[in-house]
């Protein structure tokens, strides 16, 4: 057991730190500002071009074939520099890597990793949230294409996406989990309409609704086999629940660092409960950082695509909401007198964490039945 950098890791950290010192993108915290999302592609590309993104992914697709724990170093240094978190794409890479053919991997992975192609994920629908398998969007075979009709919602960054990772029903005559397939769908076409959603903290560039009305994609863009869509989706969501894959520790650590600076600058004006909220947020964030160290170290024994991500998701949710609560507490009256207060936006955004990627209640069902082995009702 060793939490220390190896010589190679230390060299990487020093190189990354030096690069960050000269390439501060000056972007706001991702969860609170539309400007971040407008310039996120630019951040992704600059991080990738400098050799600091896709660290553990295969070199042939643009990665660096490094051990997974390098992402811990990346997250730590991004937080220390006050830089934005790394792009959260690992779960799509995992889904394509596990289920895609070689041709699909060659075709899509390099663009995802480099940031040249922007992707969104079309899973949830207005009537298919936690019960995802009941989704009704259809993909109907028509010659060499599939024709897509339906309505997706909570589709993050759909308005800037080049591609949609779409879960659709390709066979209506089999049980609901078995009739689904996964398709890569180009977003720039006439049969697709975007309807942005405004989140409770005011940002408009994250969530969207996407309406498909006769949109088309070649059948060759199917990821996995026909009817394998549920399994592909479960691989993706299990990794979408892992802070190690998402890189959110950097975002939490950056906020905690800012809260600590605020209190330290004028310690006398903060009550003991405000101080405790900040120190508890620090403890939570440290716990999550160390949990990610542990999880990514465990990957040296092989990547687990099972239900463990649900544990990590619940831990991450408690951390994000502790950090959000601390921001609100430290902000004091400004959170209600100023609608643009950043702390207010951080707090409001944190409420989404117990819903996105599967609600906390769904995660607890998974932990109870699939990890603890409790009987299903």
């Amino acid at each position: 057991m060793d939490f220390r950098d190896s010589p190679a890791e230390a060299e990487f950290r020093a190189r990354l730190r030096a690069w960050l010192a000269e390439h501060d993108p000056g972007l706001p915290t991702s969860s609170t500002d539309d400007e971040y999302w407008a310039r996120q592609a630019e951040w992704h590309t600059s991080l990738y071009d400098a050799g600091f993104f896709g660290l553990s992914w295969p070199e042939r697709y643009g990665g660096h074939d490094l051990p997974p724990v390098y992402d811990v170093i990346l997250d730590e240094e991004l937080a220390a520099a006050g830089a934005p978190p790394r792009p959260s794409l690992g779960y799509l890479v995992q889904g394509i890597t596990v289920h895609g053919s070689d041709a699909i991997k060659e075709r899509f992975l390099p663009g995802i990793i480099s940031g040249r192609d922007r992707w969104c994920q079309g899973f949830s629908e207005p009537d298919a949230g936690s019960d995802l398998a009941s989704l009704r969007t259809t993909a109907t075979r028509d010659g060499d294409d599939f024709v897509i009709d339906g309505h997706k919602i909570w589709t993050s960054y759909s308005d800037v996406a080049d591609w949609c990772f779409l879960l659709a029903r390709t066979d209506p005559d089999v049980p609901k989990h078995k009739g689904l397939s996964l398709l890569a769908v180009p977003m720039d076409q006439p049969g697709i309409e975007q309807r942005p959603l405004r989140m409770i903290n005011g940002i408009t560039s994250e969530f969207g609704q996407v309406l498909f009305d006769g949109a088309r994609t070649p059948a060759a863009n199917m990821i996995g086999e026909p009817g394998e869509g549920w399994r592909v989706a479960m691989t993706i969501v299990s990794h979408e629940r892992e802070p190690g894959e998402l890189g959110y520790v950097a975002r939490y650590a950056k906020t905690v660092k800012e809260l600590e600076s605020t209190v330290r600058a004028d310690p006398g004006s903060f009550r003991s409960d405000q101080r405790e909220a900040v120190s508890w947020a620090y403890v939570q964030t440290e716990m999550l950082r160390l949990h990610v160290c542990r999880r990514l170290s465990e990957r040296l024994d092989g990547i687990d695509h099972g239900p463990g991500g649900s544990i990590d998701k619940l831990l991450m949710t408690w951390v994000e909401q502790s950090v959000g609560a601390a921001a609100l507490d430290v902000s004091g009256p400004a959170a209600v007198t100023d609608a643009d207060d950043v702390a207010l936006k951080i707090y409001l955004y944190s409420r989404a964490q117990s819903v996105m990627g599967g609600t906390s209640q769904i995660q607890k069902n998974i932990v109870a039945t699939r990890i603890l082995g409790l009987p299903t009702g």
């Binding site: 057991m1 060793d2 939490f3 220390r4 950098d5 190896s6 890791e9 051990p67 724990v69 811990v72 170093i73 600590e260 209190v263 330290r264 310690p267 006398g268 903060f270 101080r275 405790e276 900040v278 120190s279 508890w280 620090y282 403890v283 939570q284 440290e286 716990m287 999550l288 160390l290 949990h291 160290c293 542990r294 170290s297 465990e298 040296l300 024994d301 544990i311 619940l314 831990l315 209640q361 995660q363 607890k364 069902n365 932990v367 109870a368 039945t369 990890i371 603890l372 082995g373 409790l374 009987p375 299903t376 009702g377």
Partner: protein, 350 residues
């Protein structure tokens, strides 16, 4: 960076858990089985675990904080009713002072249980508590005496000190005020760094014990929820019960991640940083440990509130491990002093 156990650490983890499972109490009634308790104590001693923090010959301990925490975690998991952390912490303090660790010696604590007892005079002036004393033997309890910028190691006798304490698996004995302070042969004064490093070990061991207690009580409780039937189905099939246990399991996993780091930090980081790592782990584990044990009692229902149900043995052990070296509130205050400035509180020995 590779936080996995080495093969040796994995083997120690496996064998320590096996021993705790085989010889620890499976029921509350087992606590009265003196033959079993004796076998457990002898097995822990024979395994050499009480000597993990003895001087390895070069001033460094025989084993790192990681190994000591692996054993603490295993013994907590089995609510093993034998001394471990007490003697190990005493040996670590003696080693730092260049003294030979007394057989079965422990450390005397003031009421706060967070620092070694500080004594300035020929006799103690307040009651002290010796925590995790081995058996009924009368042994020595270490105290520290101010000396120049540091501290001198000394001891008081445990003669006839009455056993007290809420933990049914580990003994706390109270040394009344007025106990004579005896010299200890030692080579060095203890520095503030020594005490910070020693505190880091205490925080790591109590955190690891809490992780073990959480795992142990959850194993018992998950099994109970799968067996106990109401409305003709196992209570573990109800989401209300499932969600309580799922939350508890996550708290245990997060606690493990923080406590592993604290145990590694004991010997790998400078003392003050190691103590900070210990505070982070302890703050998390102490809060989580109490919640998890309370959940276990709730899931056991009425029977969980009876003396016969083993869940309170876990809760009681968690309460001692939480307060020993300071509970979550104590750790958060310490982190605030380190990270948020001022607050006008002096740091004292910790």
């Amino acid at each position: 960076m590779d936080t996995r156990d080495t093969p040796e650490q994995a083997e120690l983890r496996r064998s320590a858990r096996q021993l705790a499972r085989d010889l620890g109490p499976a029921t509350v009634g087992d606590l009265d089985d003196a033959t079993r308790t004796k076998r457990l104590s002898v097995a822990v001693r024979d395994a050499g675990w009480l000597e993990l923090r003895h001087d390895g010959g070069d001033g460094a301990p025989l084993a790192s904080g990681v190994e000591a925490a692996i054993v603490a975690d295993a013994l907590g998991g089995g609510v093993a009713d034998t001394a471990f952390a007490g003697p190990v912490l005493a040996a670590d303090l003696a080693r730092r002072a260049g003294a030979a660790a007394g057989d079965g010696a422990v450390v005397a604590f003031p009421f706060s249980l967070t620092t070694p007892a500080l004594v300035d005079g020929a006799r103690t002036t307040a009651p002290l508590s010796a925590v995790d004393v081995a058996g009924d033997h009368d042994r020595a309890a270490y105290v520290v005496v101010p000396e120049g910028p540091g501290y001198r190691l000394a001891q008081v006798a445990l003669d006839g000190a009455p056993a007290q304490g809420s933990d049914l698996t580990r003994s706390v004995r109270v040394i009344p005020a007025g106990a004579p302070v005896q010299e200890v042969m030692r080579e060095r004064a203890l520095t503030a760094d020594d005490l910070a490093g020693w505190t880091a070990l205490g925080l790591a061991l109590t955190s690891a014990d809490l992780v073990g207690v959480m795992r142990g009580v959850l194993d018992v409780t998950v099994a109970y929820a799968a067996e106990r039937r109401q409305y003709d189905v196992p209570i573990g099939s109800f989401q209300a019960v499932q969600h309580l246990l799922a939350e508890a399991h996550c708290l245990m996993e997060g606690s493990l991640s923080a406590s592993l780091h604290a145990s590694w930090a004991v010997d790998a980081l400078p003392p003050e940083q190691a103590r900070t790592a210990g505070r982070v782990a302890k703050a998390y584990c102490a809060r989580a440990g109490r919640t998890v044990c309370e959940t276990a009692i709730q899931v056991h229902g009425g029977i969980g509130n009876t003396w016969e149900c083993i869940a309170h043995v876990h809760l009681r052990r968690a309460l001692l491990s939480s307060k020993w070296f300071g509970d979550a509130g104590e750790q958060l205050r310490g982190l605030e002093r380190e990270r948020l400035g001022h607050a006008g509180v002096t740091d004292g020995l910790s």
